[in-house]
């Protein structure tokens, strides 16, 4: 059988989601943001809730998410996406609301908004893309930068004595009683992508059942910020980030996993 006989519309098993626009993604080659954007849109497409979903884009690399996601989107000031999402949820309680934030946005400048929105247990989904660095502005040190990790503002590596320890904001949020489910995922292999997709689906199902806030952290590479090739960055992430930020469920159905 020739390859051209296989390539027919009836044999297609995978393609780009129709909820992603034709705008080329502005992310660097190999960046996990692209996979995360596509996964969220694929889940919304499968659930058939595209007309009832409102997303809030952050400031950072993913600031242009409203250009890529073909659903109702808005964009909040730096770190204020959970506050804007709270307003949307309270105005339209029947809508599916999600925020999509990076670690500079959620864990640094928006810590207060994040923690208070989580503590109130608003009925929404927060996607937290953690790459341990401020990617968009040139690789400065973020709260989640690992110990000894080089960035443009910590050229000799992060030093715990003067710069503090990396912030485990996901574990911090999991301890708040208002939060319904918390989990951490990665997107560097097909297995991890499929697991993350199941978790995203579960998060939106929680919103449908008005269970409260679902928080999904996604570990991503930042090959430009880390100054590596995409595959090297993925390997570096497995070796260095996974021990400090272990993958898996942290809180399921309102109960902490021990």
């Amino acid at each position: 059988m020739e390859v051209l006989d296989i390539i027919k519309p009836e044999n297609q098993v995978f393609c780009k989601s129709q909820l992603m626009t034709d705008t080329p993604l502005s992310y660097c080659p190999g960046c996990g943001h692209g996979t995360a954007n596509n996964l969220i849109m694929e889940v919304i497409d499968e659930m058939g809730i595209s007309e009832d979903t409102i997303g809030v884009a952050p400031v950072g690399c993913s600031v242009l998410a409203y250009d890529f996601m073909n659903i109702d989107m808005t964009q909040a000031a730096h770190g204020r996406a959970p506050a804007v999402a709270t307003a949307i949820v309270r105005t339209w309680p029947e809508k599916y609301v999600f925020t999509y934030q990076g670690d500079g946005d959620l864990a640094a400048i928006g810590t207060a908004e994040t923690i208070h929105a989580c503590n109130r247990g608003e009925n929404m989904v927060i996607f937290f893309i953690n790459n341990g660095i401020y990617g968009m502005t040139g690789g400065q040190m973020a709260p989640t930068t690992l110990e000894g990790m080089k960035s443009s503002t910590s050229p000799y590596g992060r030093e715990i004595a003067t710069m503090g320890s990396p912030l485990k904001i996901t574990e911090l949020i999991a301890n708040l009683p208002g939060v319904y489910s918390v989990s951490r995922h990665a997107l560097h292999t097909h297995k991890h992508v499929r697991k993350a997709k199941i978790a995203i689906r579960q998060a939106f199902e929680n919103t449908r059942l008005k269970k409260g806030l679902s928080f999904i952290e996604i570990l991503s590479n930042c090959n430009s910020g880390w100054k590596m090739t995409p595959n090297d960055a993925n390997e570096w992430m497995v070796e260095n980030m996974f021990p400090y930020f272990p993958l898996g469920d942290i809180k399921v159905e309102g109960k902490l996993k021990v």
């Binding site: 995978f14 692209g34 993925n234």
Partner: protein, 76 residues
């Protein structure tokens, strides 16, 4: 026994040549072209089309969703 044959179509203008799809392909189908697209990236292509079984691993990890996957059952 039915055999599964697959094929991928890479949107060469969207592909950024990040090579993330290369290690996840168990059958080692995907290679990186020596040609470049409009943006100057070396795009992915089907180097070994006979081996592809349409598992969609490459598509799921592609950040730009530049890969469409086709699969067909072939009676042997």
């Amino acid at each position: 026994m039915a055999k599964v044959r697959g094929a991928i179509v890479v949107n060469t203008q969207i592909c950024k040549g990040c090579e993330v799809c290369v290690p996840v392909c168990q059958e080692k189908v995907i290679g990186i072209s020596s040609d470049v697209n409009r943006k100057g990236y070396h795009y992915a292509y089907m180097k070994n089309p006979e081996a592809c079984n349409g598992c969609t691993n490459c598509g799921t990890v592609c950040p730009d969703r530049a890969i469409a996957v086709y699969r067909v059952k072939v009676a042997t």
